[in-house]
Symmetry: D2
Subunit: 377 residues, 4 copies
């Protein structure tokens, strides 16, 4: 780590009481982080959130097509308004990053499959990695290959920890490489894992009807995600063939100890941010009992919340924040219940969860830099 680049700031940091910043007494150091693929939506969101993170300093950013440009040319919105902008380095090509060891932690926001070779070049003993791509999410190489194609760094798979903090906190704390969970799998697993752990719902009849805003489709130019193709319309896509299905199944199978299959049906909705999953489950227990189990599972979690009985989770409740909000409802069909789980796909489904992982990996307060309230309207 380049000490000169860092700086000691006594008493820096937030304390969540009252949700308002207060001094943390102990002396701490900031760390230097790099963002690979800073010009996409998850990269942009990392910028927005790290700007108010008291301990993470953005020391490098890459974006091959925008290499050489100052941030103000790529994202005018981050190019003014505080010395934050001036503190940001110009964008460079990934290939131009010479010494990875200068950085304490790398956020990798590169496309699936392009990530493996780059990460295999990073010395994990000096530099931790949070990978926002899918490249290290599937621990079974065959499953990865079946859904994404050949894996170029299988040996790293053992190293990778699946960063669903609420259920992997200890592993994440000791991890050097964290695979940041997918957006859909985050909302689904947070709702289902506690109930499967308690054997309260059937593992053979889980139906996940998922709806996502268009940021989930990424920032590359495609006719299908043009404003005029998305607005005022909706459709299902990748029906029973979406790559997030095996990721969800892996997480649930880990809990049940046997192979779980799920119905996962995603839809593109004409909005920017937000995922809402309506999950239909078989259960011998009452919806109230399931709800109670989720309350207990997450009562100490800062980012997962069960709404009051009967209140329907809106994506607006979490927009721009790192929270996941859920609730359980009765079904007209006997022996069934309905779970609704919402997150902001760009935050808890990507960049916010990545920062949450960083906080745990670096021993920071888990909520540091993530206290922002939801954005409304």
């Amino acid at each position: 780590m380049d000490r000169s680049a860092g700086f000691v700031s006594v008493g820096v940091g937030y304390e969540v009481r009252g949700g308002r910043a207060r001094c943390v007494r102990k002396a701490v150091e900031t760390i230097d982080v790099a963002i690979l693929g800073a010009s996409g939506y998850t990269g942009a969101e990392l910028l927005r959130m790290l700007a108010v993170h008291p301990k993470a300093k953005i020391a490098a950013m890459t974006a091959d097509r925008s290499a050489g440009k100052p941030i103000g040319e790529v994202f005018p919105q981050y190019g003014f308004g505080s010395q934050f902008a001036q503190s940001l380095p110009d964008l460079v090509k990934v290939a131009e990053v010479e010494d990875w060891s200068k950085y304490d932690l790398i956020f990798c926001c590169l496309p699936h499959a392009t990530t493996q070779e780059i990460i295999s070049g990073i010395p994990l003993e000096t530099t931790k990695v949070v990978d926002l791509s899918a490249d290290f999410r599937l621990s079974n190489i065959d499953t990865y290959t079946a859904w994404y194609g050949e894996h170029k760094a299988p040996y790293l798979q053992k190293e990778a920890v699946y960063g669903l903090v609420e259920h992997k906190r200890d592993e994440v704390r000791d991890a050097r490489l964290v695979a940041n969970p997918g957006c859909y799998p985050t909302a689904a697993q947070l709702a289902l894992i506690p109930l499967l752990k308690n054997k309260s719902i059937s593992s053979t009849d889980i139906i996940i009807d998922a709806k996502s805003g268009a940021t989930g489709a990424g920032r590359s130019a495609k006719v299908g995600t043009l404003f005029c193709e998305v607005s005022d319309g909706m459709h299902a896509y990748g029906i029973a063939q979406h790559r997030h299905a095996p990721e969800i199944e892996q997480g649930l199978s880990e809990v049940t100890g046997e192979d779980v299959l799920v119905n996962f049906t995603p839809h593109l909705i004409p909005m920017n941010r937000g995922i809402l999953e309506t999950i239909f489950v078989k259960t011998s227990e009452s919806p109230g009992a399931l709800r109670q189990q989720l309350i207990e599972a997450y009562e100490d979690e800062p980012f997962v919340h069960v709404l009051p009985e009967g209140v329907s989770p809106h994506t607006r409740h979490v927009r721009g924040s790192n929270h996941c909000v859920m609730n359980v409802f009765p079904d007209r069909l006997p022996g069934r219940a309905i779970i609704v789980s919402v997150i902001d796909n760009v935050v808890k489904g990507a960049s916010g969860q990545a920062i949450q992982n960083m906080n745990v990996m670096m021993g920071f307060d888990e909520t540091m830099g993530l206290e922002g309230q939801p954005f409304f309207p």
Copy 2:
């Protein structure tokens, strides 16, 4: 009927071949129709569609709050551009309509529960009625009372025919009072009735995840449907408690001969028009077999279509048109299939279907005035 108001136009009318207007040889007469509640979304859509209907002349329109105004003041968009506007009568109060018998057919777009008394005052021997409210959809009075409150004209219930033309054509042909189906129930029943008829799917495990644009919430001023509350967000509502559940169940029970319960979970989506229903069913047959059954069930229907294998129905495919488009997909869960059904809730889910009912009731070509292509983008 006020003959002077009508006029004979030899060879008027459309013929659908090629989707282009051609003369129908026989001499025909136009009819005089009235629209009660013309200032809401379904009333406005009736205006738009009847403007190009060759045989229906709008002879009266009511809108209590806008009574006395010309159409141009209520809907500037219909107040210019052709003598159509000038042909339209000024709006009046419902109470001011003196002689119902002057009209051949009444479209009733009034709110639920307000409709019964008005319709009970209409002489059905001279004047047919298509009611777009829910007041006559539920044939079982107790069910109606349980979901909507006391019914003020139960004797009319026997008279009322449920106007899902594709499955009630003969009854509609002879009907004097047609209950126009609800928007959600239309998309659901069209997808499910043929499969239940064939006993190809289980009737005890039907899950309907429905998504609708905001026109479905109507045109009355509510904070919950303000632009800033709806845009860039989504949520489920009326979970397991929506009034369209019993309507769907009635239609399906009629087919199976026993009481069917369904899971029906509607969501509000930030768009104007369109309903998409993702229906999860249990089946011992292949998705391909179910798809084939739907193709056969609707091969002669002008308004219901099964897309090519694997093509996902978009609400855009039907936006502004009277079509229902559907398809069947395999499920990762064995013994299950996924059906997707889309309509424009304002057209096939309301005003377009009402005109389709009128056409059948009056012996017009069923597609008359409904040939318009979908609106894109």
Copy 3:
């Protein structure tokens, strides 16, 4: 013309009285039209509108990237619902069109600059052309070159008639090649030409603040027009450098007889369709007088309308229709007035106006196939 492809339909056609289709007594023939570049937004809109045109039969459609495909694969919404779909030929490459003389009229929806060579290969003595690109809009070759680059068929420029029907009806009637006006210039010139003709406003101080929906940006994949980049935001673009400025100036200069310069400032608005232009003018007359002049200028026009005094034109008033709606308002600044003019950029600003031009060129009723009411909401 391929007679076998055509067919005689006695009494076909619309008559606008009452805005409802009625038979036109004289025997007429349908014509065969081709659409070049059918897969973009203007091509799609031509399809939607020609589907209900009683005299124009779509005999060929080109779309290079979709060549060989049936319409249903490119636009599922046009691939079902009537024999219209079955009447449509598969898409072909432009280069594959062998005999242009088989078509009575060609709609050219190709990108600027690609059009000239193709059109120069069309025998205008047998086949008329309506070009929706900008290639033949600017009569002055130097101006064209300055804004669009080298012109490849300057000799055709003399032939081309600028198809703003309301002000060029006679020329269009005799034209073989019509340059369909740009979207912004249509709304601007319709508002300004009558007032400049009357010398009622200053020609040296015209400020046009224009706002357009995203369809105006076309259907090619660009990051800047992705849903997430356009929705919930707005910005001005091409400030004082937009190619529609010289087109507007040409039209106004023709009226005044001297070179007119205008301020033209377009903005991208998060919506699909619609252009609204707020035009600030200097005048020695009262706003009421200007308004009266516009009323008189357009009182016999089927597609241009002045709203009642004080009523603000909404793009919703014309959405999906071929109308232009305008009004004049007083300005707090003495000696000034404000004109607001709205159109649907895809209809009156492109495909609808192209059909209006076809109707005039072919001697059809000018409103034929264009009677559709605006789409709301």
Copy 4:
């Protein structure tokens, strides 16, 4: 002030360098603030922003219709996620607030005209007020009466300071009652005041074409602001009759020393947040010179920024932040220039500017709690 409610937190606060929170060395105290009218959009935004303000504690909130409810019932999004929610008092009726002196500062988010009597009951010697309504913006009582009706507390008008901090910093520092500027006037005056001060533009020919998102229309239920009425359409409103015109004119007249009239033409745009004003001015100087003057006027301002030459300001550049971004462009018309100014109407146009005013009034760092980066997408 209720000391027990406050608490001393040594070293609390932000320092903007690097846009990251660092300790401010001096010991400081938090203050107790009350929000009157907390259930509207500006009230909600104050909640969101004060949640991360290190020195302002929300001690009371009023919302008459929601009185008695915890925040979680009114705004579920603020009802979880941190002890912030638990730190919030339940909502009460304004009339139920007994002792105003318990609060150091009141944010008044009540409707125009309802505010005067309430504020006249607040003891300004103990309790400062930032009023977000228009009630104290117009210093000339006659002007106020002409546009808003009778003024019920004219004597307070002398007391009120117009809180456009960038141009009133000293007055605001000493103020007890600040009238928070309107959203449109903020964007307009920030762009025009420096140029009028320098006599660089004509004061008799200022044309402001303003476009706003729907939050500007407030949160009360009106048909005109329903999702289906606003989305996919736009229109001008209050043309030459909008109440923000006299407010802008007051600010500009103060600078020029003579009565300035402006053209102010607002438009409703289908988006949530953001105002963009395209301002057309007469000038004898070059656009570059005007641009340079704005750069110099705001070079030390934390919230006002001139973009690089030729870069068009987007509302996205400021969405969710307290920044105003502007630029100057050449006009095709000689002797003219175009200025574009954007803000987030809910932040710099309302709640953010109110906090900026509070910071100055209380002697806090002006940017405290306002460091958040813009929200994208």
